[in-house]
Every structure is written in structure tokens, then in C-alpha cells.
């Protein structure tokens, strides 16, 4: 039997009828066509499906959608300011911090969660924050650089 889920996604409230076994990533991709969030391992092991729930980064494949009832979800589609990219998105572009792009939305969301909590992280803290986000193309150097550069830029802008 379907249940009603009330959730705010990227600022828009939704009321969706879903089967209780539906995971959050399935609601995002299959019900709402928000395919920026990538489903990869579907077992909490790669974090490519990272989204923010009430500001905290979680694996949307490992969250029962009904558990976010009444909460706010932010996906990669919700972080740009209109046509203006989020500073992290811009930095990933400038640093070439991606290849196939499959891990990129999750990396950016994990990076955003870190910078929201800790605006001035050390390199080690960045590495720990994205430790669960697997990139299988190349490495993490440019990704770490992009997050650190964003932190620096946001700090300077805040002055």
C-alpha cells in the first residue's frame, strides 16, 4: 500500500504517493526526474548519491524516503543560484576536478556539507570529508584542491 510523503526538495514542497520500500534516491530520480543525483553502488559504499537532508550529507540510496517526511532535501540541482554556478561547481570546473562526472555531484554535495560546517578546513579535513566519495577515474588531488580553493575564496569574500 502506498504512503504519502511530504518533503521539501530544493525549496519546493512535494506531496508524493510512494511504496514504503522506496529509497530517497529512487524518489529523486524516478518520481521527480532529478537525475543529477547519481545512483551507483546502491549500498552506501560509494556516496555518489550524496544529498543534504536538513543540511547534513547522507547517502540517498540508504535512506528510506518516508524517513525524510517533513524534512528539507537539497540535491545538486538546488545549489546553483539560477544560472550562476555554486562556487564549488565553478571551482570543480576551473580545476578540472572530474573525468566521467559520475562521482561529481556527490563530491560537490559532500564538499558543500563540509564548508557549511567548517568554512576553513585543513587538507586532512577535506580528505576525511570526502573519504566515502569514491572516484574511479583518476584521483582525488584536483577534487581536494577545488574544495580548498572554494574555502579560500569564500573566506576572502566574507571579509
Amino acid at each position: 500500500m502506498k504512503k504519502i510523503l511530504n518533503v521539501t526538495i530544493n525549496g519546493t514542497p512535494y506531496e508524493i504517493a510512494i511504496k514504503p520500500k522506496t529509497t530517497l534516491v529512487e524518489v529523486l530520480r524516478n518520481e521527480l526526474n532529478l537525475t543529477g543525483t547519481k545512483r551507483s553502488c546502491n549500498a552506501g559504499g560509494c556516496s555518489s548519491c550524496s544529498v543534504l537532508v536538513d543540511g547534513k550529507v547522507v547517502n540517498s540510496c540508504s535512506v528510506l524516503a518516508l524517513q525524510v517526511d517533513g524534512k528539507e532535501v537539497t540535491t545538486i540541482e538546488g545549489i546553483a543560484d539560477g544560472a550562476k554556478l555554486h562556487p564549488l561547481q565553478q571551482a570543480f570546473l576551473e580545476h578540472g576536478a572530474y573525468q566521467c562526472g559520475y562521482c561529481t555531484p556527490g563530491m560537490i554535495i559532500a564538499g558543500k556539507a563540509l564548508l557549511d560546517e567548517n568554512p576553513n578546513p585543513t587538507k586532512q579535513e577535506v580528505k576525511e570529508a570526502i573519504a566515502g566519495n569514491l572516484c574511479r577515474c583518476t584521483g582525488y588531488v584536483r577534487i581536494v584542491d577545488a574544495i580548498l580553493a572554494t574555502a579560500k575564496k569564500l573566506q576572502e569574500e566574507a571579509k
Binding site: M1, K3, K19, P20, K21, T23, N42, A43, G44, S47, S50, V53, K56, V57, V58, N59, S62, V63, L64, L66, Q67, D69, A110, A113, L114, K127, E128, A129, A131, G132
Partner: protein
């Protein structure tokens, strides 16, 4: 995943009533960071899922100098990691949480769920064993307190009955002159540990060992204590030689299950190394606390 009926009780009392009604036909989900994988693989197909993730009644961290620490079962790993109370009085738990799985998992997964899924490699149990922690298990007629040592029954199996709910974790006040450390072995950050060792030493006024506790994960079907090795320390001055000998005994007390990552023989060997390292760190911390 098979379909199920979903029930999200609003209170602990309601949860216990629902559990009593459905018993073997239901499973409890908290963060679901392990359970969802089990359901996706079809290893379990309960008719009802009882969701306690948003039970705020069980989301708390309390401390007082008499009863020690009380953590509600649905408290997330991340809340434990960042709690100032825990950093001040039980820092080993904060250290353990900082490296438990990944940020994503720590943000949604709960400390009670980690214990109840009873994966023998779980990070939470070894430090709790080293601190003589207990858990409160409730059913609709009342509650009982069980030591973390007696909590596990077998691989992925605990003493929690079909109509019961783990509601709280309790850690006694840490005696003065105590040092505690938890170290684990795994391939990369974010992986489950292969083995883990938590050691607690309490020193007497002469600097000798008054009490020793060694909790180990990943080396038996359930988390265990190295009770023979613990006894070797008690009353003795802790030296590198004694640590070395006790670590060998601790290793002999294990019965690891071989898996895709490591053979039983390998785990037996590596746990000795980790008991040794954790013991040295715990000793340094105990000496610092005593000075």
C-alpha cells in the same frame, strides 16, 4: 526489495505496543545503514517495518557524575562524535566515531542500530566493552539492563527479543587515573574494520595496573573481551614486555571468522598487534591522567 507495511510510531510506548503485536513479523529500522542492504539483498523480507529513526524521545546524550553517560538509541554517530559532553568525559567514543564508516553514514546511522545489527566488526562495541558499558532493553511490560559483553549471541544476533527495543546505552563514570584507546585495522578510511582493539587501564596510586579491560572486534562471531590478557595486567606494573606477552594471549583468545578480506589466521595475528598498540596508547593516557 520485497514490499512491506510501514509503521512509524510516535512514542517509545507506541513502538513497544506495535512490537508486541507483530513480534517475528516485523523488523525495526533506525538509520537503516545496514538493514537496507540486508533487505535489498533479499536476506530478510519482513512483513512490517517499524521505523524509529525519528523518535526524538530516544535522541539524547546525558551525563552526570553519579550515573555516568546515557545515550539514547536513536542518537546518530555524528551527534556522538561532536558532543562536548562526550569529548570531555568519554573522548575515546568521539575518536571512534570520527573514523566510523563515512560522514554520510554517520549522519544517518544510529549508535543503537550499530549495536543491534551486531556486525562483529562494528566499531561501537569494543570501546564500550573496555568501559563496562550496558544497554537498556525494553518491552511493553518493563525493561532490563544487559552488559555489552552479554549483548551479542552470535554473528548478527543479539539478546534483543522480537518484542523488545534497545532504548539506551549506559557507560559508567570513568575512574580517575584511567587511559582508554581504540585502534583498528582497515585498508582505507571509510571501510569497515578488519579487526579493532580497545584497551582501558586504570592505575593505582603506585602507578601499577588496578584494572584492565580489552575489547576486541572482528575476531569472533561477536565482540569479545580478552579476559585472560586483562588478568595478566592487574596488580602489575605495565611494561612493554608485559604488553607484548598479554597481546599474544589476547590473540589466542580469539576465534575469527575468515572472510573475503582476511583469513582467520591473519586476523588472529593482526589483532595481537592492535591490542599491543592500543595498550601502549592507553598506558600513555593513563599516566598522563595520573600526573
Amino acid at each position: 526489495m520485497r514490499d512491506f507495511e510501514y509503521i512509524a510510531p510516535k512514542t517509545v510506548k507506541e513502538t513497544l505496543d506495535v512490537l508486541d503485536e507483530y513480534q517475528e513479523d516485523c523488523k525495526i529500522i533506525a538509520g537503516g545503514q545496514s538493514l537496507l542492504n540486508i533487505l535489498k539483498q533479499g536476506l530478510m523480507a519482513p512483513e512490517y517495518i517499524i521505523d524509529i529513526k525519528n523518535l526524538e524521545e530516544l535522541n539524547y546524550i546525558k551525563f552526570d557524575e553519579k550515573d555516568g553517560l546515557k545515550i539514547g538509541a536513536t542518537t546518530t554517530h555524528r551527534s556522538v562524535e561532536f558532543s562536548d559532553t562526550i569529548k570531555e568525559h568519554y573522548n575515546v567514543l568521539s575518536e571512534m566515531e570520527r573514523h566510523l564508516a563515512t560522514v554520510q553514514i554517520r549522519n544517518w546511522g544510529t549508535i543503537g542500530g550499530n549495536l543491534c545489527i551486531a556486525d562483529p566488526t562494528g566499531d561501537v562495541a569494543p570501546p564500550l566493552l573496555a568501559m563496562d558499558a550496558t544497554v537498556i532493553i525494553a518491552n511493553k511490560d518493563g525493561e532490563r539492563e544487559v552488559t555489552v559483553l552479554d549483548f551479542g549471541v552470535d554473528y548478527y544476533e543479539t539478546v534483543v527479543g522480537p518484542n523488545e527495543l534497545l532504548t539506551e546505552i549506559r557507560v559508567p563514570v570513568i575512574p580517575s587515573n584511567t587511559g582508554i584507546a581504540y585502534l583498528k585495522y582497515r585498508i582505507v578510511e571509510g571501510d569497515a574494520p578488519i579487526v579493532g582493539a580497545a584497551v582501558a587501564f586504570t592505575l593505582n596510586e603506585k602507578g601499577a595496573c588496578k584494572k584492565a579491560r580489552i575489547g576486541m572486534g572482528g575476531v569472533a562471531p561477536i565482540p569479545i573481551r580478552a579476559e585472560k590478557a586483562e588478568k595478566m595486567f592487574e596488580g602489575e606494573k605495565i611494561t612493554d614486555t608485559l604488553i607484548e606477552e598479554a597481546a599474544k594471549v589476547a590473540s589466542e583468545e580469539t576465534t575469527p571468522i575468515p572472510d573475503i578480506v582476511a583469513s582467520a589466521e591473519y586476523k588472529k595475528r593482526v589483532i595481537g598487534v592492535y591490542v599491543k598498540r592500543a595498550a601502549k596508547l592507553a598506558l600513555t593516557r593513563a599516566e598522563k591522567a595520573a600526573n
